[in-house]
Each structure stands twice: as C-alpha cells, then as structure tokens.
C-alpha cells in the first residue's frame, strides 16, 4: 500500500534545484573563474576570407606594458585534424594562410583583456588576398578553385537508393520538383564561449575550465591534440549559459589557451566577445536540397529523390563537420513520419571560405522537416487537397511499428497520427479555415502550417560523440545524504533536478537529500556528455540502473538489520521498513552509518560503504520521439512582415520525467524555430566578409515575436530504461517547417510557396508581386 501511495518523483512538476543560485546571481560561469595572476587572451583574427600570410610582425605588441606573451603558430604548432575522416585540418593558429574571416591568427596574452586588445591592434599581418570560394554549387564543381590545394572541395559524398526506386518513381502519375535553401544560422548562446586553463598547484596537472557540453570528450580532445596523457588533465565545466550543440566541439581557442597555460605556467583565460562568437562559433544549416517527388492521384507519396548539398566552411569542425551531420542524417530520416516507400539521395558536402559548419540543436532535423513538410504541402496544393488530409493518407500507422523506413532506419513505436489530430484540435483547425476565408475577403492573409516530426534521440553516436552509454556513480554518505555523479554536460536542461527525481524514487530519499554532480572529469564517471537528446534517456537510464543497484543493497541492509525478508522491505521518506509494520523501521542514515562506521554489522557478502557505479547502454541504437507543431501566422502583404500569432504542440517523448521542464524545452525550441523561419541568417558579402556581426544584424526572437504555445503531452514509452525518450531537439526540428508552411498557406492566393529560410520581408513581397 505504502508503495502505491508514496508520491512518485518521476513525472512530477518539481521546481528546479539549480534555480536559487542562478536567480540570486551566485552561479559561477566561465568568466567568473578568477585566480591571482590570471592572464587574459585576445585573438587577432583573419580579416580576409582567403589569403596567403606574407609576414607577421608582433614586436610592437610584445613590448606593450602589460603584455605577457604573443603566440603564433610557431608557439602553438597544433592542428585540429581528425585524420581518420578528413584530408584537411585547421591549425589552432593560422599557418601561412587563412581560409575564413574570423580565423584565429595570433594570440596575445596580457594582464587583462583591455591590454590584450590594445596589443592585438599593434600586430601587423601582411596578407595577399586570393579569390574566395563562396558559392556552394560552384564549389562542388571545384570553381573558382579548390579551397585547399591538396584536397577536393567535396569532402563528403554519399549516395543511397531504395531498391526498385527508378521503376517506382517513373511509374507514379504525378511528379513535382523543388529546390530548398536553408541559410546559415548559429546557436548564439547567451553566454559566449570561453576557456581557462592553469597548472594545478598541488599536482602539477593541467586543469582546463571549459564551457562545453561534453567534459570527457573535451579531455580527450585536449589530450590528443596536445599529446598529454589523460590522467594529467582535469576538465571542469562551470555553469554553462547555453550550448545548443554549438558547445559540443573542441575549438582552436580551447587548444591555444591550454597550450598557453602549459607553456608559460600561468593561469590563462579567454572569453569570446559577440563579434568573435558570430564569426567563430560553428555555423549551421547552410544547405541546398534539389528534390523531386512522385505521388499518385490521391496524394499518396511514392518516392522522393534528393540531391543534398551542404557548405561545410573552410575546415571540418573538430572532430566532425556539421555538414556531414546535417546531410548524412537528413538523408536517412527525410521521409519523416510518412510511409514513403522509395527514397534516393545523393550527398555532396563542400569546403568554402566561410566559418566551419558544426552542430546546432536538431542538426539535420530542421532542414529535413522543412523539406519533408514542404513537399507534402506541394502535393496537397497540386492536387487541391487539404494538407491535413494528405498527411493522414501518408502517415505511418500504429500497426506498422517497428517501422523500417526507406533508408532502413528502424522507428520504435510513436503516436504520429494521434499527435496530429490532437494538435489540429488544439489549434481549432476547422474553425481556422472558416476564419481564414473571411479574413481573406478583408485583405488579411493568415495561414496555418502543420509540421509532423520524428526525432531520433539517444543515438549510439551523436554530436556528443561515439559513446553510446552513460554512467552514474551514487555515493550515499555516512549521513545518509546522496551524491550522484554523471558525465553529462547540462547547459540549462535541469539535469540536477531530473536525475535527482529518478534517484529519489529508487532510493526512497527526499529530493533535497540528493546532490547531482557533473562537469568535472575528476569526480564524474566516464560519459558521453550532453547532445543529441541523449541525457534524459541514456543519462536517466544510468540513474535508474545505478539507483536500482543501490536500492537492492539498501534493502539487503534493512532486511538484515530488521531481521526481515528482503521481499518485505519498503523504502521511502529516507527510511526502510517492514511492509505492514511501519514501526519496524530504520533510517537510510542508520544504514549508511552501519556501512561506513559499524562495519562488523554489514550483511555478509556486501562491501564496505555505499558506492556504486551503474552504466546504461540502450539496446536500440536510437529511439524516436515524435509530435506535431501547428503554427498560425499573419502575413502583412504590404510590409512583408510575418507575425506568428498562435502555436500548438502535441509532443510525445515517451515517459516524461518532469513535464514543466519538457514544456520549457519545447517553448525554447519553438522560439528558435521562429528565429530560423523568419529572422536569423548569417550573411556574407561577395568578398566573403561576414556582414552580420552583431545581434542588431543577426536577429534573435524577442519576447514579442513568440506567441503563447499550447502544449499537450502524449506518452508512448520507449522500450528502454524508464520508457524515456529524448526530447530537446524536436521542437526546433518541427518549428521552422510549421512556420514556413503557415506562410505558404497564408500566401496561397498569390500562388507561391516558401522554399528558402529564413523568410524575409523582401521574399514575402516578391511572392506577393510574382502572382
């Protein structure tokens, strides 16, 4: 009985444990790491998209009072180069040539950032500019030249086709072609990147403070690149002010800072300013898809052919290029939630003279959804069918799970059609169509866009790396209080709360008695970190596995000390008791004191102490979350401005650990999706200069740009631990497509359809005038 009545923390709307320090200004972010004698770094960056370096004169800078050292490639001869995958690497500091605007060339190390920047201005670099490679289609044809003389521009090429594709494609009664373009965007974490490094006074080891999503990955990268054994490096991740995939990579600046600390035996810190962020944080979404779709008279889609192209920038981000991630997975999940039997994809990823492409939340997904939903809407419009009906006709049905898609990805069970029907209800679809007709009569253009998404989560390999498992070390202290350490790298997702919720249920202790540790390779068990929506399902799975093992041990103790059978022991409220006899109880504290202090009473066969590391490797290589977003927009056909006015989400991420946190993730992803759909673009001019170098040029959604978002939860459990699926990317996967489809719907009377993101006012006006 007690078991049933006890509140279950999993699924509860618990307020976050991390909030008080963040709300009171006590949280310590990277720039808050300060030790005596700490030096600061400013980088001299390339002003050219492509140039030979003829000379570098650092003498004036070196002699400026307050300057400690100046580093060029000679002082830091390190290449960020994953030789197994790419023919090209990026030198940490430029070596004889530069290949994008913002590439680090020289590092100045000074008493403070003001002096470092003064000195940076005194450095004279003589460049000989060369023709930049800026157009993706040209670059694929090796025009106007190769970006790197010794390597072809196309660095990732892959073709895949469902058997029987050509016959099926040719036999279909209708065909349409379209070309889709997503323009460069970037994550823009509110806390810019930063790194600090110092030699540990006690041990002489190197400590690197990193604003990263993956502590162990960062340790591995620093060790490999600087040739230091792992046990001599400690990574500490302080509070991280947003990551969104962008902080999953190891960057040249991380390496330079670590090298400076080693070389000069001084604490060294670098904090990016916003100009540096926009130029040198990995970019994303620079993709073109040339697509053909074949379908029958009823709108049943039979086959999709797609030439996927991505501009990977000047170098592969280390250790992976985002271009490969965006196209490689898009090609495998391009059919989304639809039962489309035939798919043919050709991928070409090219170098250019732009910032390297890396990961940004959703990676492939926002692009693939934009294409997949854009195609469905084109089919609907071509056949004059309702877009919701065409989706119904194509949707994968419950009885088809586990479903193998045309690219041979296996989908576990989801609620595809159900989520769409729910979202249609939330937005009031039937009523909307009537309203839309009336408003059109008045010269007002409103539209809805439906975006049904699948979200592969908890993948064996993701932006967080190739580590498919996660670990949790639980230590119950002699006081009965619990610390639980993970290799995760949260950046706002609330893992300290959600992991504690899972553990509280297993250990029968109050939430307040649990502290979740993360972000320190000295205390955390080895783990992959946070990325690819893996922390909930895999990290949470590790919490459940370790929690269960510890629970079993506590029960053994309680049975022994209370002289009862193990099956009769219950745990809760920090106590263990005999079922039905609540008086026969003892506290977890008593068990812990026995385990550490009164060791002669430890049950036979159990070790001293209460410490366990549990690991969890999901059986499936991926679990799919799903859902439907519906956006309503109003388009001002005179100004071209798009306003997102209403928004509904039906979301299914399996068993929910904390609905409030899930909703927060959805809201944030929708906001980023609205940015992706109508605001955010990194623009280069014809010389390869990035012209969007402030947040006045690169526009983020503000509080008035995001409408209220109505969220409904559906729970189709995964087959993994706890039934949990990942969920942090789905909202950004679905939202740009929802808004784009809504704009196409609003502008239907003018005939055009959105094919480029973001949709700018100029593009809207052109669609209106092209009628």
């Amino acid at each position: 009985m007690a078991e049933v009545l006890r509140p279950q923390m999993m699924g509860a709307r618990v307020s976050r444990l991390e909030d008080p320090r963040l709300l009171s200004g006590q949280a310590r972010f990277l720039d808050d790491i300060q030790v005596p004698g700490m030096l600061e770094v400013a980088f001299v960056r390339s002003p050219h998209a492509a140039a030979k370096i003829l000379s570098v004169d650092v003498e004036a800078a070196r002699h400026l009072p307050g300057v400690y050292a100046v580093m060029t490639h000679q002082e830091c001869p390190v290449m960020l180069w994953n030789k197994e995958s790419y023919k090209v690497g990026q030198p940490a500091l430029a070596d004889g040539e530069v290949a994008f605007v913002g590439q680090p060339v020289v590092a100045v190390i000074a008493e403070n950032r003001y002096i470092a920047e003064d000195a940076a201005e005194l450095i004279r670099v003589e460049y000989q500019a060369i023709t930049p490679v800026l157009d993706m289609r040209d670059a694929i044809q090796e025009k106007p030249r190769r970006v790197h003389e010794h390597a072809e521009n196309v660095f990732f090429k892959k073709s895949r086709q469902t058997p029987g594709f050509d016959e099926a494609f040719a036999a279909a009664s209708h065909h349409l072609t379209a070309s889709f373009r997503t323009n460069r965007q970037t994550a823009v974490t509110m806390e810019p990147r930063g790194t600090a490094a110092m030699l540990d006074a006690a041990s002489g080891r190197l400590t690197v403070y990193a604003s990263t999503q993956s502590p162990h990955r960062m340790r591995e990268d620093i060790c490999n690149l600087l040739d230091i054994p792992e046990h001599l490096v400690r990574i500490i991740v302080p509070e991280v002010g947003g990551g969104f995939g962008m902080k999953a990579a190891c960057y040249p600046e991380d390496v330079v800072v670590a090298q400076a600390a080693l070389r000069y035996r001084k604490p060294v810190k670098w904090i990016s300013d916003r100009l540096e962020s926009l130029e040198s944080d990995v970019h994303a979404r620079d993709d073109i898809h040339d697509v053909e779709v074949a379908f029958d008279d009823d709108g049943k889609i039979i086959a999709i052919k797609d030439h996927l192209m991505a501009d990977g920038g000047a170098y592969p981000a280390y250790p992976w290029s985002g271009a490969e991630g965006e196209t490689g997975l898009a090609a495998r999940v391009l059919t989304g939630p639809y039962d489309i039997p035939y798919l043919a994809t050709d991928i070409d990823c090219t170098y250019s003279n732009k910032t390297p492409l890396g990961s940004y939340r959703g990676v492939w997904g926002p692009i693939a959804s934009f294409i997949q939903e854009g195609l469905v809407d084109r089919v609907a419009r071509h056949l004059n069918l309702d877009p919701a009906d065409v989706r119904r006709r194509n949707m994968i049905r419950k009885e088809q799970f586990p479903y193998r898609n045309a690219a041979r990805m296996i989908y576990d069970e989801g609620s595809y059609l159900e989520s769409m029907e729910e979202a249609l209800k939330l937005i009031g679809y039937e009523d909307f169509r009537k309203r839309q007709a009336v408003l059109r009569q008045q010269g007002r253009y409103v539209g809805v866009g439906i975006s049904v998404f699948v979200e592969p989560t908890a993948m064996a390999s993701s932006e967080a790396g190739e580590v498919g498992y996660e670990s949790c070390t639980i230590r119950i202290e002699p006081s009965g209080r619990v610390t639980a350490a993970f290799g995760l790298g949260p950046s706002g997702q609330g893992h300290e709360t959600t992991m504690a919720q899972l553990l509280a249920d297993q250990l029968g202790v109050p939430l307040a008695d649990i502290v979740v540790l993360h972000g320190d390779t000295d205390s955390a068990p080895y783990g992959g970190g946070t990325g690819g929506s893996r922390s909930g399902p895999i990290g949470g799975g590790a919490a459940l596995v370790a929690g269960r093992q510890m629970r079993e041990r506590l029960i053994k103790y309680a049975a022994h000390l209370l002289e009862a059978g193990e099956d009769d022991i219950e745990l809760g409220d920090g106590k263990a008791w005999v079922a039905g006899v609540p008086d026969r109880s003892l506290t977890i504290r008593t068990i812990a004191q026995t385990a550490y202090m009164d060791v002669s009473k430890i049950p036979e066969g159990l070790p001293i102490g209460l410490e366990i590391t549990g690991r969890y490797l999901p059986k499936r290589p991926v679990t799919f979350s799903n859902g439907t977003h519906i956006a309503e927009v109003e388009v001002d056909v005179h100004t071209g401005v798009v306003k997102v006015t209403r928004y509904a989400v039906a979301n299914d991420c399996g068993r929910v650990i904390n609905p409030t946190i899930v909703e927060g993730q959805i809201h944030g992803g929708v906001a980023q999706g609205i940015g992706a759909a109508v605001l955010e673009a990194l623009r280069y001019d014809e010389d390869g200069q990035l012209v969007t170098t402030s947040l006045l040029d690169y526009l983020l959604p503000e509080s008035t740009d995001v409408p209220r978002i109505d969220v409904h939860h559906i729970e189709t459990p995964s087959e993994g631990e706890g039934g949990i699926k990942g969920m942090a990317e789905g909202s950004l996967i679905a939202a740009p497509a929802a808004v784009a489809c809504a704009i196409s719907d609003a502008l239907a009377p003018f005939g055009g359809m959105v094919d480029t993101l973001p949709v700018t006012p100029d593009m809207v006006l052109k669609m209106v005038q092209d009628r």
Binding site: D32, L695, S703, I709
Partner: protein, 160 residues
C-alpha cells in the same frame, strides 16, 4: 595611458565603494571584476542582449555600454541587490515556480528589467510585460514562462 587610474565613488546595492578605475573600464567590468558582483552577466558588449542590465537610480541600463566613471554618485542595483538576505524575492520565487529560467545567463538582467517594471507599474498587462522585456534576449525559454512569472509576481512588491 592605458593604465591611468581615476577615483570613482559608486553606490552599489546600498553600499558605498571608493574605487581606482581606468576611465575606459565599463561599469559591467568594474561590478564584476572589482566588486565581485558576478551576477551581472555580459552577453554581447554591444548593448543588444540585455544580460548586463542593472538599475541606475531605479531605471534599467546596459552596464556594458557605460563607463564606470559615468555612474559616479548614482545608485546602482544589481541582482545581488534585489536578493533578500535569506531566500528569494517574490519575483525570484515566481521565476522558480514558473520555470522562467533554463541556463540562467540572461536571468539577472531579466529580473532587473521586470523588477523595474513592477516598481513603476504594479499591475502590468501581458502585453506591457512583453514590451518591457523586448530588450532582454533569452535563447532558452521562448519567454512564455518568464512572462507567466512576471504576471504571477504582480502586486507582491520587492519582499523582504
């Protein structure tokens, strides 16, 4: 030249500080590095993101766009200054209850902008709240829970 120092007297969170600063040091840098008030965050140094918002005589300003010497004699309030000795203020409690923060980087600036709004208008509408917050960018929350928190904190004052 770069290292010239001048004296400035700043009133921060009700305390007077006499400091030697370089005239070119921004207010945000002095608050953070000289006074250790690390709750003030710097997000863009271009005056756009609002993370560095502090109150100057009760009005929200960007501390990254001001030199510390310009704040001579004025009353500066940082997030530390709106935090009660024990626990959280009604607005901070509302932020927690409504999950109005994720990574927490924009949060101090958001709190100060919202507090200034509530100080001058104890009962703002949702539209007024959204307008007031347009100068503070948040990349995590999509703003809805922040707006909900400010709505919930209406009429409760600053607390202890």
């Amino acid at each position: 030249m770069a290292d010239e120092r001048v004296e400035v007297v700043l009133q921060v969170n009700g305390r007077e500080h006499r400091l030697e600063v370089s005239p070119r040091w921004t207010l945000s840098d002095v608050l953070r590095h000289q006074l250790g008030l690390i709750g003030t965050h710097v997000g863009c140094e271009q005056g756009v993101c609002g993370a560095c918002t502090v109150l100057l005589d009760g009005e929200p300003v960007r501390s990254c766009l001001m030199f510390a010497v310009q704040a001579q004699g004025q009353h500066i309030t940082t997030v530390e200054g709106i935090t009660p000795e024990n626990g959280l203020s009604p607005l901070q409690e509302a932020f927690r209850a409504h999950h109005a923060l994720q990574c927490g980087y924009c949060t101090p600036g958001m709190l100060l902008t919202a507090q200034a709004l509530l100080d001058r208008d104890p009962n703002p509408s949702e539209e007024t709240i959204r307008e007031a917050l347009t100068g503070n960018l948040c990349r995590c929350t999509g703003y809805q829970f922040i707006v909900d928190a400010v709505l919930a904190a209406r009429g409760q004052g600053r607390g202890a």
